[in-house]
């Protein structure tokens, strides 16, 4: 059967064998190559390369499945397009399934059959991870999280210092010495998480949420042991690494005795910790876990914070993070929050479940190898933003913030990018 397989290739195929459950078997046998999914993928729309049609991405993996798991594929591979698992195929998989797919899931609902395309892409990433073929930059992000506890390798001292001066600023801003940013305090109701980009580059978003918590009279704390809401091991396809990161969050939440973990504004972080995490550690969480978006909506709905939309009168639009909306079902909450805190909100077209990815998802923001491609596919989003003629783009995801800032610069959009928490904090009235 083709050339003799190397040990590395055998490892990859072994991983595929182990993953073949009902869901994956189904996905690998369902695509009919109609090609109609092409127009749902921004890589294909922006770059026009047929390799980026989602059906082609599925076929990269399905062709390997057919070669090694079907009789016809073993005897007459050319009949069904079954491919050898060789270096050429593997290189194409790395380039296409890491470097040309944000796993945004937009193609799923539009597939004429209903193939779970990102699930197949993730399965292939798991194979490649087993073979140590994950792009180096993504792997170093995962390693940073594993080794230091956060993906930006921020030393604890630096983190504590940042929180300390943020707390001083908060007290001055609010003219209230009781305004705190609690750290490692046991017995609180909420454990709040952060995207490490916040303490590193956007500390004001921490202040914004601290202000919201203070005004809501919330019982909350941060943890220096585990505050990172991200889990890039989900994107690198390494379940063992992903489980280590999830377990840390669980351990800290249990140790502090909180009853709710609130996930910071982060699309993939929300998906990883809320939906995938329990499956990585094979345990149900002993606490409630929600996103910041849901919490903010809850505070406003319950009257825990008073907000005035007149505080945010600038024209403003919303970018929906794929993992929050398409695989998390959180679509209305952020719109509810904006309806109560702003006066001039305009939707992009398309929006919500139909929204296009910013281009930074799927770990692409961490994969510098594909920077050029990542910015090129973002043109679609840049054009959507321009069409709204707004001054501010709100997005409940720090990774999206980063990508949108890059697009802002690249395509000269001329907007300000803000998180939902920042908008709410600005709208708070006593």
């Amino acid at each position: 059967m083709g050339k003799k397989l190397t040990e590395k290739q055998k490892t990859g195929l072994g991983k595929l064998d182990n993953m073949l459950d009902a869901r994956l078997e189904t996905a690998l046998n369902s695509c009919v190559h109609c090609g109609l999914c092409g127009t749902s993928c921004q890589y294909f729309l922006a770059l026009g390369d047929a390799r980026f049609i989602p059906a082609h991405k599925v076929d990269l993996v399905a062709s390997i499945y057919r070669r090694y798991h079907t009789t016809v594929g073993k005897i007459a591979p050319k009949l069904t397009g079954a491919r050898d698992f060789n270096d050429e195929t593997i290189d194409e998989m790395v380039d296409t399934l890491f470097g040309a797919c944000t796993m945004c899931g937009r193609c799923i609902a539009h597939c004429s059959i209903g193939v779970d395309i990102p699930h197949v892409v993730l399965a292939c990433r798991k194979m490649l991870s087993e073979m140590d073929m994950v792009p180096k930059s993504l792997m170093s992000t995962v390693n940073a999280a594993l080794e230091t506890g956060n993906n930006m390798a921020i030393p604890t001292e630096e983190f504590v210092d940042t929180l300390s001066w943020l707390e001083e600023d908060l007290q001055m801003d609010l003219d209230d010495d009781n305004a705190k940013i609690p750290v490692n305090e046991p017995g609180k109701k909420i454990l709040y998480t952060l995207n490490p980009r916040e303490p590193k580059f956007f500390p004001l978003s921490i202040s914004a949420m601290a202000k919201v918590f203070h005004k809501a009279g919330e019982s909350w704390t941060l943890s220096t042991e585990m505050y990172d809401v991200t889990n890039y091991a989900y994107y690198s396809g390494n379940d063992e690494h992903a489980a280590i990161i999830t377990q840390r969050l669980v351990d800290v939440a249990v140790k502090l005795g909180v009853d709710t973990v609130v996930l910071a504004e982060c699309g993939h972080g929300s998906r990883s910790h809320r939906w995938e995490g329990p499956n990585w550690i094979k345990e149900e969480y002993p606490f409630r876990i929600i996103t910041t978006v849901e919490l903010l909506a809850e505070y406003i709905r319950d009257g825990k914070i008073k907000v005035d939309p007149e505080k945010n009168t600038m024209p403003l639009t919303l970018h929906d993070p794929c993992n929050l909306v398409r695989t998390g079902g959180i679509v209305d909450e952020q719109r509810y929050v904006l309806s109560k805190t702003t006066t001039n909100f305009r939707e992009m077209n398309p929006y919500g479940r139909e929204s296009f990815c910013c281009g930074g998802g799927g770990g692409n923001l961490a994969m510098s190898e594909y920077n050029e491609r990542r910015l090129a596919i973002g043109k679609l989003k840049a054009d959507q933003i321009k069409a709204t003629e707004t001054e501010v783009v709100v997005t409940p995801c720090h990774n999206c913030v980063d990508q949108l800032m890059g697009l802002n610069q690249e395509f000269k959009i001329g907007v300000e990018i803000r998180t939902l928490g920042e908008i709410v904090a600005d709208a708070i009235v006593d």
């Binding site: 996905a27 209903g114 939906w275 695989t327």
Partner: protein
């Protein structure tokens, strides 16, 4: 029953058996337990997966590609109609000539739609790049079935040849992508379960 009836029946049973083995394999493989706390209604979502989520209004693969989508619908309707006619031919039911003629026209429309899809696959470079031999063979077999059946309805002397041709189609079906006729249902089921667990489906379209 004549020899061609037996050949077709044998091929059909063999096809069913192979598809049955594949479906059994899916069930045997099983789905891992989901430990995350569900927030949705999986049953409703599965129902939605087969109904609302399939609506052409909500699928770019339909509303952005209307000619191809329409061709696909006619093609599939032709196939199902053809299968119904096979049963009728097995039962020796005598139907009025007008019904037979309209049926033949319907099958020719289905075959023309299939041919259109095949031509698109051949002509469009991006479709060619996406295709393998099975894509062309599968299309030819099904298109040919509809056309052949239409002819056999109008000229019954060709029924034996048509049934042997159809037997070949049934024998090939589990080999290539035509087996999506079984996996389609599993795919929709999985999507319904997945999105239902997370409260994403059913979507309330405003």
């Amino acid at each position: 029953m004549l020899y061609f009836h037996w050949i077709l029946l044998a091929a059909f049973l063999l096809c069913l058996l192979q598809l049955g083995v594949r479906v059994a394999k899916i069930f045997r493989a099983g789905a891992p337990k989901d430990y995350s706390a569900p927030i949705g209604d999986k049953k409703k979502a599965i129902g939605y997966s087969f109904t609302g989520a399939m609506s052409p209004k909500h699928k770019e693969s339909a509303y952005l590609h209307l000619p191809t989508y329409a061709a696909g619908i006619f093609y599939h309707m032709g196939t199902f109609f053809g299968l119904l006619w096979l049963i009728i031919l097995f039962t020796n039911l005598i139907l009025p000539a007008i019904v037979i003629q309209i049926s033949a026209i319907f099958l020719f429309v289905g075959a023309a739609a299939g041919l259109g899809i095949l031509i698109k696959r051949i002509v469009a470079p991006k479709m060619r790049q996406l295709s393998n031999a099975d894509d062309f063979i599968s299309n030819l077999l099904v298109t040919g079935f509809q056309a052949f059946l239409g002819i056999a309805l109008l000229m019954p002397q060709y029924v034996p040849q048509m049934m042997i041709y159809t037997a070949i189609l049934f024998l090939y079906l589990p080999v290539g992508k035509l087996r999506h006729c079984a996996y389609f249902f599993a795919a929709r089921l999985h999507l319904g379960y997945f999105f239902g667990h997370r409260g994403v489906w059913p979507v309330k379209h405003g």
